[in-house]
Symmetry: D2
DNA sequence: TTTT
DNA sequence: TTTT
C-alpha cells in the first residue's frame, strides 16, 4: 500500500548549491540546509541546529542553481531517502537526504535578486519540469 | 532565527516498538517504519519502499509500546535529527532518525485493539507529558 | 512575496465524489471529507468531527471519480481557497474549500478495488496534468 | 477513527492581532493572514492572494498579542474549524478558521523587535497552556 | 487587510 | 556550514 513520506523545512543554506550533470544531462543540485530551534534550558537560551542534506533534480536543480545561495532563507518540501555508498576506505555507509519536490524563497525581496537576473518575486518551483500551472484556465 | 523541521509519515511498522529506559527512568521507544511509493516505470508498476528510524520519548514511548505493533498503519509527525555514533569497529557513522512528536493510528478499528486493553479509537498522542522538555535529559 | 498555503487531511469521504464538466471539458470533482478527533472531556471520550469541502480538478478529478467512494479513507494534500457566491435568496456567502493537489488512498487493499478494475495498491495522484501524471495509465 | 486535520501557512499578517477575553479569562487572539502565490499567466506574472482567519487560544494568544504585528511574516501550524453564526440580519452563515497550534516568526531580526521588548530570536510557541509552554518566560 |  |  502507498504511504506518505513528506518533509517540510524552513531554514538557511549553509553553502551555495553544488550542481552536477549526470550522463544524459540530468542536473542534480545539492546543498546543506540548517534549521535552528531555540529553547530554554535552566533559564538560559540554547540554540540547537540541525543540518539537512538537500538534493534537487532536473528543472528544480536549475532553478536552485540560479536563485539559491548560501545564507538564503528557504521553505522546502520533499521526501526522505536513505541510500548507501562506500567511502574512500571501502566502508559501507548510509546517508539520509531530503529530495526536494518544490521550494519557495522566503525573506526580503533583495534576497531573491541576483546580479544577472533581478526578480520580483519568490516563486514556488516544482520538480515537474514545467509549471503545474493549474491557473491558466480556471474559472476563478 | 528559528526554522521549521517537520516530517509527516504514513506507513507500516516493520517491527514491534523496542523500548529502553534510560537512567532516570525516561522511556525511549524505537522502530522502523516503511513508506511505500508506487510508480510506473516503462509501463510496469514498481514499488519503492523507504525505511525510517522512528524514535519516541517519554509518554509517547509508553503509548507506542502499548498500542503500536508490527504491521500497523500509523500517521507520524516529528522532526529530523542526525546523530553520530561509533560502530563496533570504532568507525564513526551517522544515522538520521525521525523523532516523533505525535502519532495517530490509522486503519480498521480492530487494528487498535490489544488483548489487554481494547480501545475504541485511535487517538493522537503528543510528546508533552508535562513539558516539551525533550532536551533536558537527553543523551545527545 | 510568495507564501505557503498547505492543508494535509486524513479522513473519510462523506459521499461519493460529484463530478461536473465545465465548458471546455475541464472536470471538477467535489465531496465532503470528515476528519475526526477524539479527546477526553471529564474522563469521558468525546469525538468531534470536522467536515471539509474537497475540490479536485482535471486529471485528479477523473481519478477521484474512478476510485474514491463514500466511506473510503484518504490522505489529501491541497490548499485553502475561500470564494464567495450568492445563495438562492441572493445573499452573498463565503465558502472555504480545500483544493486538492494530490491524494493517496489509505486502508485495506480491498478498499482500493472496484468491480471493474481490481487494484493492488493505492497510488499517489497529482494535479499536474501532463507531468508527473501517475494518473494516465491507472489502475495504478 | 481518528483523522488528521492539519494546516501549514507562511504569510503576512493583514492586521495586528485582536485579543478578547472570554468569561473565565481565557484569551483569544485573531487576525487575518495573507498567503500569496505568484504564477505565470500568458507570460505575465500574476499574484493571487488568499486570506485566512487565524485564531489563537490561551497562552498562544498572549504571545501573539505580544509579538505579532501587521505585516510580519509568520509560519503557522494549526487545524481547520468551520463554525456557524448568525449575522446582524439573523442569517445563518459559516466561517472557516485556522485554529493555530503553534507559530514561528520568520524574517529579519528587526521584525521580531517591539519597542518595549527587543528580542533576539523568533521562537516556536505552542497552544498547550501549561505544558510545553515556552511562552511563560518570553522573550525566549 | 499583508507582502514582493 | 546557515541564521538570529
Amino acid at each position: 500500500m502507498s504511504g506518505i513520506n513528506k518533509v517540510i523545512l524552513v531554514g538557511h543554506l549553509g553553502k551555495d548549491p553544488e550542481v552536477r550533470h549526470l550522463e544524459g544531462g540530468v542536473a542534480v543540485a545539492s546543498f546543506p540546509l540548517a534549521t535552528s530551534e531555540t529553547f530554554n534550558k535552566d533559564g538560559r537560551k540554547v540554540e540547537q541546529t540541525e543540518w539537512h542534506n538537500i538534493v534537487m533534480w532536473r528543472g528544480l536543480a536549475d532553478v536552485a542553481a540560479k536563485y539559491l545561495q548560501k545564507g538564503k532563507l528557504v521553505y522546502i518540501e520533499g521526501k526522505l531517502r536513505t541510500r548507501s555508498f562506500e567511502d574512500k576506505e571501502g566502508i559501507k555507509k548510509y546517508t539520509t537526504e531530503v529530495v526536494a519536490e518544490n521550494f519557495t524563497m522566503l525573506g526580503r525581496k533583495t534576497d531573491f535578486e541576483t546580479e544577472a537576473a533581478p526578480r520580483t518575486n519568490g516563486g514556488r518551483t516544482n520538480d515537474t519540469d514545467g509549471y503545474r500551472n493549474d491557473a491558466d484556465d480556471l474559472p476563478f
